[in-house]
Symmetry: C2
Subunit: 431 residues, 2 copies
């Protein structure tokens, strides 16, 4: 991969020329949300670029559609489909390349650079998509197993359906927020004494506030009600990926979730990273997921083996004193179900996917003690301290804690990463 003429793109930047992730920005001088890509520490304002230069000369598939970059979400761009995303990404890579054959577009146009290439600190990122529906799956095998052991013992850790279908539930799209949004500790019904009979709940701030390290997938191409998406076509329905922290209040969840699933234990906030890494940018990092030995139903059978991605994932916990500890390191290959399988299953009965819908992978955990995607697992159900720098400990989150999750692939200088997916916990308010 060539290098870029954009200044200061360090070898460690998740936004190398090999990436070109898309997002929505505003600036002090133009408060209208619009599309941009990230390169190094800069945002390249695609509205400013396409207002000034005719991008359709370079990306002919954009013809008649270049207003998509002036809109407050990426939905219209996503709806154009993967061939368009592919061409636009290639064209932007070409424009930003040190050896660009089109230096007139941006490299040599200092005036346009002033307007369109916006340094860190001068732009704000926003939710990249208007999210119609959000579905959270449970494809992280080691997480599902570990949590199952805690709740039901090793013999019944996984339900009999687990290896037959990608288990998932409908989440709350209104509660999805972009990295940096403050996270208010939820108040909810909890059982302070879970052994007392009859059960007597209290209404109080959650004492078991947790994180869930997940990969999120945005839908590009919709399907109609009553039709399904075949597993062969599913890749064409994917726009791209974000990091997802599915904040979870374990005590609220435990009391409420039988028999209809998680509700207030989840719907107070889920944080996503602001830049959507296009499906094509992750192609070089394909690998096998976790083997599923159960014979699959036809609609879930994939023709290729490399259906997962090997994204290095990390969780940082920063205390209010400012000490940061990396509490987990794992890989997104720890999934037993692929996103195409999730899409094929989700739409099997005719459920319509819409452009902008978000699918969560489910919590991603490895097998080792420092490879867990939730505090619930790291603390073995809240029974064991997780050691932090400064001799501090956690079992669940304290007010003032900041959690950041990161995902990155590729070699130095050619990194494809997700950037920040961060949230800080603020004290509960009781009305």
């Amino acid at each position: 991969m060539a290098s870029t003429w954009v200044p200061g793109v360090t070898g460690d930047s998740p936004f190398s020329l090999a990436n070109i992730p898309f997002g929505i920005i505003t600036t002090q001088f133009d408060p209208a949300p619009r599309a941009a890509i990230a390169i190094g520490s800069y945002a390249l304002d695609l509205k400013a670029l396409s207002d000034s230069k005719d991008l359709t000369k370079l990306a002919s598939s954009l013809k008649g559609h270049d207003s998509v970059f002036s809109q407050p979400t990426l939905n219209a761009f996503a709806a154009l489909g993967r061939p368009v995303h592919r061409e636009v990404r290639k064209v932007i890579q070409e424009i930003l390349s040190a050896e660009t054959s089109h230096p007139d577009v941006l490299k040599n146009d200092k005036e346009l650079q002033e307007k369109a290439l916006i340094p860190q600190g001068k732009f704000k990122t926003h939710l990249p998509m208007s999210i119609g529906d959000y579905t959270d799956f449970y494809a992280g095998y080691h997480h599902a197993y570990a949590v199952g052991v805690m709740f039901r013992g090793p013999a019944n850790a996984l339900q009999p359906n687990y290896t037959h279908l990608p288990v998932g539930y409908h989440g709350r799209s209104s509660s999805i927020v972009v990295s940096g949004t403050p996270i208010r500790r939820p108040v909810g019904q909890i059982l302070l004494d879970s052994t007392a009979e009859p059960k007597q709940p209290s209404t109080a701030p959650s004492r078991r506030l947790d994180i869930e390290l997940e990969l999120g997938c945005f839908i590009a191409k919709p399907n109609e009600l009553g039709t399904s998406i075949s597993i062969e076509d599913a890749e064409e329905h994917i726009f791209g990926y974000v990091m997802l922290n599915d904040w979870s209040a374990r005590d609220i969840q435990t009391w409420e979730y039988v028999p209809l699933g998680p509700f207030n234990g989840k719907n107070f906030a889920s944080t996503i990273s602001p830049w959507v890494v296009l499906a094509d940018a992750l192609e070089p990092f394909r690998t096998k997921g976790i083997e599923n030995k159960t014979p699959l139903q036809d609609y879930l059978k994939e023709s290729k083996a490399d259906t997962a991605f090997d994204i290095e994932l990390e969780i940082d916990l920063t205390t209010s004193e400012g000490d940061t500890t990396t509490i987990s390191t794992t890989s997104s290959k720890n999934l037993m179900w692929s996103f195409p399988q999730m899409i094929a299953h989700h739409s099997l009965g005719g459920c319509p996917m819409r452009t902008g819908d978000l699918l969560g992978s489910g919590t991603i955990s490895g097998t080792g003690a420092r490879e867990r995607g939730s505090l619930l697992e790291m603390s073995e159900g809240g029974k064991k301290d997780i050691m932090l720098h400064g001799m501090d400990v956690r079992r669940f989150l304290k007010d003032g804690d900041t959690v950041g999750i990161r995902g990155v692939c590729g070699k130095p200088g050619e990194r494809v990463g997700f950037g920040d997916c961060v949230g800080r916990i603020y004290s509960a308010v009781q009305n």
Copy 2:
């Protein structure tokens, strides 16, 4: 209540002058979706009316907002809040009243009547709201109990949380359709032999396709992430109500729903009636719901006793031969939780409600054999035939069956009803 000058509004019409429900229509001559109200068998086109007459002279709270009636959904109107809905409904009642003191607006303006008063058959109804999120509760006590007995026996029929909080789950907003939309029988994973070990699912059309008779509630006023809606304020956040048939594939649901709740068993379609009955229109029909003897958490305590509505509900099943049987008659008072309680609970942890969000009550059943809101209950878990006219029988739905649910309150000539909530079952397609 006065009568209307609009012709042919029969005593049995659900859309009397006492109702004035809001919806979205199109016509052959104006295919742009826009707001209307229903009166008798007519739709009154509110865009045509407000284009021709200055409604803000009569409804001053509309000032600066009368473009809300030109929009393709009712969201902008709903967002104006209950005082505006109340005034606009009153003004329309006044204009349509036989003794109107403003005959110039419509009664005596034959030319405008030609344009704005559209007879049945000349307009199409559409989804009335853009639905951001859909939540389905489980507040129908007799349904929850009956289904609980089937799955877990009488001792454990209700989970310990049932009387402490309104149990609910996030549904799929993309699958909500308006009355009349064809319902495709879903294909899904089902266990043909539920006793075999190990469990071996098949992928096949659902054999246990069911209905759920529910009341739906649309949100008007939103709340911010991290804030909650108090039970005293909750009524002010309600726009109005629709009938809801939450079609359910019981065999898909049974295999998939542990541990995260219903998914493909529900997300293939839910049908709502097209006309939103405003919250104010239902006020005269308040009554007590089902008594909950469990001491409630403070945030769920209501100051008034009449927190349910006494809406007469019926389910009609029409076979492909054209025979119609009313298979159930019950009342919406059979709920143990009120919509304000659902809203207070849903937002307790800070989950944002948005204008247009839909809440389902959960299946409404009475205690008698012909008062059940689902075929699952009527057939006692699929074990008993439900007799239909023409000596036909059902346990679950056949292809070609049409189900209509109806809800109505009030005396003849002053009826407040919901109109059609109908769907016909079409054969599954397997890819």
